[in-house]
């Protein structure tokens, strides 16, 4: 191709420069399908939703709300494949408990019972399994939830990363509570419960090839208590979301898309701990896209915002809560950040997993 474009002088004509596009429609699963971004969303909408198609699933909340015997049951399941298994501030065990507890909490439910399935790789040390199980036990006790049933399978050596865990959980949604992404309304105040990016950076800091020293720990924590405290102020919370994979950016984009509203973020107001900001700086990551495991984002009606914020700050899991933006009628489906300098930028849904960049 090149020759045709080369000028007489020996230099190619840059007016025909072009750049490569990433492949999207491959026939196989890639890591990005699990990254919580656009690829994950496509997998759900194009493969899973058509296969199981029902109204409950199409709600696409963190947990499903099931009418059952006059009550509303929140039901959620989540698989954990974090690597390494142990990281500053936690391990795959507490993550698996807190993650499902939090998914339930995001519909206002207090988790009551969990199930737990282990996939163990042949050759994994039993002491490691025990450490993970103990961590799960302590996390369950802390969250006030009972691990009521479980299962274990073992796969051949080389077919797993030591331990994978899947947990499912149920809890009751209190009367009068209707929390889901579709309920975001223009005028809602957007609140985050504390500093963001800690979990993702803590895990990256011990990943092979990227290791760095940093005195931070994962924020993994159960959020049921915090949500109960917020509901104590008003039952009329519109949206709750725990910004795990894909971080704050993915959660806000999902809420904007589900509700047909826009979100305006004040970048300066987003609490990013300095080590998180600096680690993201040298890895070329954006803290808004980094995973959290003990934070929530709330869309709160303006008239309740002050009281809800005060209640959050009075709770240990919400001590660092901050207003980070508002829900608007403009640019539906989009999240826009006001930068420190007074400019704006669009905070788009990430395509797949965020990768360290050099450029």
């Amino acid at each position: 191709m090149a020759e045709a474009y080369v000028e007489a002088g020996g230099l190619p004509d840059p007016s025909v420069w072009s750049c490569p596009a990433p492949l999207r429609d491959g026939p196989v699963v890639v890591l990005g399908h699990g990254g919580g971004g656009a690829l994950s969303a496509e997998l759900v909408s194009e493969v899973f939703a058509p296969a199981y198609g029902n109204e409950i699933l199409s709600g696409l909340g963190d947990s499903a709300i099931l009418p059952l015997g006059g009550t509303r049951l929140a039901f959620s399941t989540d698989a954990y494949v974090v690597r390494p298994l142990f990281f500053p501030g936690g391990c795959i065990g507490d993550l698996a408990v807190n993650g499902t507890v939090n998914d339930l909490a995001m519909s206002g439910a207090r988790a009551a019972f969990l199930s737990c399935a282990f996939i163990l790789e042949e050759g994994t040390e039993l002491a490691v399994v025990e450490r993970v199980a103990r961590a799960m036990g302590s996390a369950a006790a802390a969250a006030g939830v009972v691990v009521a049933t479980g299962d274990t399978k073992v796969v051949d050596a080389g077919h797993g990363d030591g331990i994978y865990v899947t947990t499912s959980g149920v809890g009751l949604v209190p009367e009068g509570v209707d929390i889901r992404p579709q309920r975001a309304r223009p005028g809602d105040v957007v609140v985050v419960s504390g500093p963001v990016g800690l979990h993702g950076v803590a895990v990256l800091s011990v990943r092979e090839g990227l290791e760095f020293g940093v005195e931070i720990a994962s924020d993994t924590a159960p959020l049921g208590g915090l949500v109960a405290a917020m509901l104590g102020v008003t039952r009329d919370l519109h949206v709750l979301r725990d910004p795990t994979r894909g971080g704050v950016a993915a959660s806000l984009n999902e809420i904007a898309a589900a509700s047909g509203t826009g979100v305006v973020l004040t970048e300066e107001a987003v609490p990013v701990p300095e080590p998180v900001a600096n680690a993201c700086g040298f890895l070329g990551l954006d803290p808004l896209y980094v995973a959290n495991e003990g934070r929530l984002i709330a869309f709160v009606p303006r008239e309740h915002a002050d009281a809800v914020l005060a209640a959050m700050r009075a709770h240990p899991q919400g001590a660092g809560a901050a207003v980070i933006g508002e829900c608007v009628a403009e640019h539906p489906g989009m999240v826009v950040a006001r930068t420190r300098l007074g400019g704006t930028r669009v905070v788009d849904l990430p395509v797949g997993e965020q990768l360290p960049r050099i450029c």
């Binding site: 004509d13 420069w17 750049c19 490569p20 890895l283 300098l341 960049r357 450029c359």
Partner: protein, 377 residues
């Protein structure tokens, strides 16, 4: 002094912006060559804060975009081998070769690893002597010394199972190619600060003179970029075309002598193919003869691999500011951020993606310039 937040100060940014507004009297088209600067411009919304006379054209300074297709294919072929651990910077994993990318090689069982530094790849080679460890040595002058050192250390320490797949490019020949284009609209350059931290500024006066174009060495923080713009515009308004250093805290005229010595020892200047363009003479580096045994192309016998480039989109014209993204027939139809035809639509800082997003943000003709989108919310 932390050399970071000081150069992000909003109050000083306003002063610089006032100064640029007071200086500019007519339209100017400036190009920032470096992808890192493009990132900073979009990340901080700087393009929307500048007066409408100042147009920033996002240049081709992204190694990920310009690494040629056949080099990606070579990487894919090597990474697919069962005896190879293939190490790369993270952002190369999504770049497509002919029908595949490194992610897909990984999903098919290839041992593909993201590392932060080429020295990490060397360390993996020392720890796993039973495997061949290959590092994908891409990048501009900023990254070349790091890759050179990895090879140098491998030879010095006798790490024979390490090799480098080299695809290094250099900025000055690219600037020359841009300026020699008959359609060139670029009137001034923000030269890439960190390239100059290594290389110094010695290669630029001849370019400034020959093409009568201001070249201002520019840093990456918001205030640095505004200062680069201010000085370039000032030169243009005065009819000057000099090389200026607006990033003196990190750039010395002579560059980094130790790095330059290592580059001269390990690499030799060579013609390089740029993706979607073809070969630009003397626009890159390859391993020097003394280091040829560490050249992954030779070791895995892929030197003769050739690849046909797929049909090109018009991002080359967009990159030079010859074509506004929305003037492309595919824009917003066949080509969107979810189904991009070219790299300018791929990432948030790509010119096409930025236009696409702002058009959604502020529908109507206003979005045509991308500047009117400032008044959101």
């Amino acid at each position: 002094m932390r050399y970071l937040d000081e150069f992000q100060d909003p109050a000083l940014a306003r002063r610089l912006l006032d100064e640029i507004r007071a200086t500019v009297t007519r339209p100017w088209a400036l190009m920032e060559v470096c992808g890192g600067q493009t990132h900073s411009i979009i990340r901080h919304g700087i393009d929307q804060l500048l007066p409408s006379e100042v147009e920033l054209i996002h240049g081709p300074g992204c190694p990920v975009c310009v690494t040629p297709l056949e080099m990606i294919d070579k990487a894919l072929a090597i990474a697919s081998r069962p005896d190879v651990v293939f190490c790369s910077f993270g952002d190369m994993l999504r770049v497509p070769g002919s029908g595949r990318d490194l992610f897909r090689v990984k999903s098919a069982g290839g041992d593909v690893r993201v590392v932060y530094s080429p020295l990490d790849a060397l360390e993996i080679a020392r720890r796993t002597p039973e495997k061949q460890v290959v590092f994908f040595g891409i990048g501009f002058e900023t990254t070349a010394p790091a890759n050179a050192m990895a090879v140098h250390q491998a030879r010095r320490l006798g790490v024979r199972n390490f090799s480098l797949l080299v695809s290094h490019v250099r900025v000055p020949p690219a600037i020359e190619a841009i300026m020699r284009s008959p359609h060139c609209r670029v009137q001034g350059f923000l030269a890439a600060g960190h390239v100059c931290s290594v290389m110094g500024v010695g290669e630029y006066p001849a370019l400034a003179e020959r093409f009568r174009v201001p070249l201002v060495v520019t840093g990456f923080e918001p205030l640095d970029i505004l200062e680069g713009v201010r000085r370039t515009v000032r030169q243009l308004e005065r009819g000057e075309h000099r090389v200026e250093n607006a990033y003196p805290r990190a750039v010395r005229d002579e560059g980094n002598p130790a790095a330059l010595r290592m580059l001269a020892e390990v690499f030799e200047v060579a013609d390089r193919a740029w993706r979607g363009i073809g070969t630009i003479p003397a626009s890159g580096w390859r391993l020097a003869d003394a280091y040829r045994e560490f050249d992954a192309e030779h070791r895995f016998d892929v030197t003769d691999m050739r690849a046909e480039e797929p049909a090109a989109c018009r991002s080359g014209e967009v990159l030079q500011g010859l074509l506004k993204p929305y003037e492309c027939a595919a824009f917003g139809k066949a080509c969107t951020p979810r189904t991009p035809l070219g790299a300018t639509m791929v990432s948030g800082e790509g010119a096409c993606a930025a236009y696409y997003l702002y058009r959604r943000l502020s529908p109507g003709p206003a979005a045509a310039t991308g500047k009117e989108a400032t008044s959101v919310g």
